[in-house]
Symmetry: C2
Subunit: 470 residues, 2 copies
Amino acid sequence: MLLTELTSITGIDLETTFRALQVIVGPERVSITQADRLQHACDQSSHAEHLPDLVVWPQTTTEVSAILAYANTVRLPVTAWGAGTSLEGNPVPVQGGIVLDFQRMNQILAVHAADFQVTVQPGMLYKDMNKTLARHGLFFAPDPGANASIGGMVANNAAGIRTVKHGATRDNVLALEVVLANGEVLRTGARSVKQSAGYDLTHLFVGSEGTLGIVTEATLKLAPLPEHFSAVIAAFPTVEIAAEVVFAIIGSGLEPTALELLDSQALTVLNSEADFDLTVAPTLFMEFSGASEASLAEELVLVEAICREHDVQSFQAGIGREARNRLWQARHRFFETSQRYYRGYAYLLTDVAVPISQFPALVAAANQIMARLNCQGTIIGHAGDGNLHTAIFFPPGDDEARAHAAQVNDHLVERALALGGTCTGEHGVGLGKQKYMLAEHGPVALNLMRQLKATLDPNGILNPGKVLAW
Amino acid sequence: MLLTELTSITGIDLETTFRALQVIVGPERVSITQADRLQHACDQSSHAEHLPDLVVWPQTTTEVSAILAYANTVRLPVTAWGAGTSLEGNPVPVQGGIVLDFQRMNQILAVHAADFQVTVQPGMLYKDMNKTLARHGLFFAPDPGANASIGGMVANNAAGIRTVKHGATRDNVLALEVVLANGEVLRTGARSVKQSAGYDLTHLFVGSEGTLGIVTEATLKLAPLPEHFSAVIAAFPTVEIAAEVVFAIIGSGLEPTALELLDSQALTVLNSEADFDLTVAPTLFMEFSGASEASLAEELVLVEAICREHDVQSFQAGIGREARNRLWQARHRFFETSQRYYRGYAYLLTDVAVPISQFPALVAAANQIMARLNCQGTIIGHAGDGNLHTAIFFPPGDDEARAHAAQVNDHLVERALALGGTCTGEHGVGLGKQKYMLAEHGPVALNLMRQLKATLDPNGILNPGKVLAW
């Protein structure tokens, strides 16, 4: 494309911007091609595409700093991009401008093995990082399923099946390097696990979805890879009973490393692929780890006793490493499997969380509304966290079914808030959850969030149109 | 005292203020007596006393809101007061004004037993709360030793011997009610464990030492009381070896519920009281808990093996409940025991934290500098966290010894920062650590902290003179 043909979505002087960015990163790492822009126009959600004006692949913090300083001066939107695996439109550049793709800042900068820590660049992919860390007997525990980037996980406070034991991303970030809107480079936190020296700047940025600053380095807490573990699959008569088992297990002092609930339809979907022949019933997938086989065996005796007290219909424990890996792979690929099962359908994913005591009520509400509105799909949850997802599938052209899916989302958020919970447990606010922010947080909190945004990004250049419509 | 005799430290119109506060809380709960003011002039640190002008005991959030709205209008300092057990001058009202004593807002508002949560008022005392929670088989794990208030623990991000397993206060706060400087009442967070809905306001307030807002309610994560546990006392030839054992234990996948290091002198102090006859050597106090006696026994076999590989000189495991309670009581009372051991002496407590790999280097540095400057005192640490305390005792009139103690503090902070750590692991910044903030965080972070303070407390009424000299 000739520069003279450039037209900007946002009305910026694209030719000048293009040249200015080329001066910063060189001619190779800035693009205005349609192909590159299209690759950064949507994430894995169903939110509409928006093209950025330009895509830049920075390689250093200095470059990111220079880009932000420039963009701040000319009031150009800048949206950070990791792996594009988010589920709520979080990195979709709805106001165009620059997308900063961190693909080329994807290095592990230091493995602090003795401290169970790693320092990485934001473009590092979660699964790739854990492959390297496995050599040190360590892993980063918040497991979003997808091969997300670390920058994206920090931005969205991502979480997953290991969060019941190890916490969300928020709980596992010790220190950050962040480039502020004006290009200043901020360092937050320390490598000591304990820190009480002033305001907690680190956690102001975790979960802020790139609207307050752009993370260029993160130091993360790691966990030792368990040497001994056992997966358990237990099927129950109802989801309510399965949820009671969740409380009983956690209350007993047992500490599962995973505790997932799947409804009957989810089991049907799972059985449709891979080599599974699981009972089609509300099911808990659990995993326990221990320092020795003997201590683990003791724990499993307790788990089985609790399940038997709760009318377990089938109980498989002591599943070996190979079968366990297959089980979790299937769970990780569940969304993709669902997409194939409901081939050609559009979808809407929900992501609410409640206190675990309210989890059965939430699951019941999800069942009822999906049945009432004749929605097709599955209910799964990180039960130990009280985090529920429904995936509702519908023919793309069926506006009524689409409206029903939206109604399920509204209803579940309303129920979750009434039950003391949140409109998003792990996917973030992005585009889809902004409409619930006032109901969840109230006007005082929203006003404070707006003040923080204005303090940190006075010109509103950082991922504009996200979290709150500023 | 007659109102006409009132004179203010800060030059405020004390008579008008006194009457205004009486209108808000009634005549009984506002005081200008010397006795009441003296009781709120210093904490348990060695920082100088400062009298507030008035002391108020609010009973409701509405009262706190009205007081702050008034104080903000007339630009009057307001400092929240919990139990006065802090160790860095955190609630000392250095600019006079109002102290808000939360003694009468000390109720448990709700125990959410099935969710392992409690909602409490800030004046609730830690130990009293845990006594009540024990009936539910639960406890709040961050254990500062002292009977601190929950409000104070939230303000300082307090931590202690259980933090190695359960985290600091920061890691265990789900939701807050906070009165902002202008009297607005903010609610942050939710009761769901997972939350990704917008900016993390909760953690902006945790550790802010009452300089950004005043907490009037906190919802805390609890842990189940372990049914089975065992204390271990293990003595080693050197602190370096003891610290290596710390890594080995955590790296093995064992999860101690406490992992404390004490130097030889600390053992001498401990032996001076109570019914102890412990080996005077660098020692680890450890505790492990398990879901069953059998799984616990398995873990202890592993612990002993690790200790034996590291030249353990004496190893006592399987200590019963009574002896275990005595051990932890002694550890909790260690500071008071030290004060009696060094009767009549003044003291300076240090509180640095480093990545655990650097803990031996830090301990060695502490040993060396204390010996070189001929300081008397002890070295103890929450070793599993890399958090080191030294307590240096000196005759109150001995200016040289006092200067040496200050030098030890400076030196340890410098070493901790060089080792990737922090000037304060759990005591907070208060008055004593402000001078290290620039070195620890750098100018960009300090500037951002100042901007946050200006955004949240534009008139600078909240605990002025703390964290950063604004």
